[in-house]
Symmetry: C2
Subunit: 201 residues, 2 copies
Amino acid sequence: MAAGETITIPARKGKAVRVARGQGVKVINTHGEQVVDTWAFNAEDLDEFMSMEHTRPTLLKIMADVGDAMVTNQRRPILTLEEDTSPGIHDTLMAACDNYRYGLLGCTEYHDNCTDNLYAGMQELGLVPPEVPSPWNLFMNIPVLEGRRLDFCPPVTKPGDYVLLRAEMDCIVAFSACPQDMLPINGVDATPTEAHFEIVD
Amino acid sequence: MAAGETITIPARKGKAVRVARGQGVKVINTHGEQVVDTWAFNAEDLDEFMSMEHTRPTLLKIMADVGDAMVTNQRRPILTLEEDTSPGIHDTLMAACDNYRYGLLGCTEYHDNCTDNLYAGMQELGLVPPEVPSPWNLFMNIPVLEGRRLDFCPPVTKPGDYVLLRAEMDCIVAFSACPQDMLPINGVDATPTEAHFEIVD
């Protein structure tokens, strides 16, 4: 995609984009408390994709720091976290939400969800993901307590905070502005909002 | 499978078994320091499988305790941890090892690995897994330090320690006796050994 334009990830919805090797994607938490589920697939071979469970043993960390590269299920760098104006809390532990999840939380009708948003975002590019990898949940605040317990907490970001991700290969990057409105993961008001991204050279 | 027989998971290799709903699988760390990567697939629909990233938000824990059920990518219980004679350290964070991993560790020839062992174990039953889910790494000791850092540590189990997993649906359970011999994950001697399992009613 050409650099410069700012693209909206609509509230509760998904969006995907082609990114050339060497380009950057600036992902902006426009309103400050929005989690953005993020996936990346090798543009030449969608069966190779960014993998949280392959990145953790590579980094020996739960979360990436600036300078770290996220790797694929073939253990190759795909996106490097080049800049981060937020406090650096980006979850790698939790699956994308799905309609099953909202059903268990008490929802009796269809609920927008990040899993379906991945499919919808890719479909706009004429693509179908081969599976639903565990996403990189940008800005999502899941502390690990006493080495074992987890909690769902509001983001610690402020409006306009962004991460800059550098593509290490030609890739498709997909986003979902998480529609979770039954837990405080998108802020204590539980109000999903839009977010934005921009391709930079 | 009929109850009672003890089956060997050969050192460095994989094995899979059909387990009926209500049956248990006793997974035995025969020699005491062997990690056993474990997968479970719905026998009626292999696209539904035990998922670490769906289990963590369900349990709000990094690791299951006795009484907890591991869930599928449809958020349904598939295996319940019914008994555990070990200290209860069973990793959910790390991908199965693969040939890429051993290449990065310096191996110049093919190395047995848990990913290929999943395929080989399922193939003996005439099945092909639809993808390689992140495994439940029984007996694998990956501490989370200061809420963020990870480490590869030797198991804290002793010979004969076992877990009893109860099947919550008809399923295919696959195991790999992890062939990792370049890190101390199977003990400080880095010597992969066999393990065993037994189906119980």
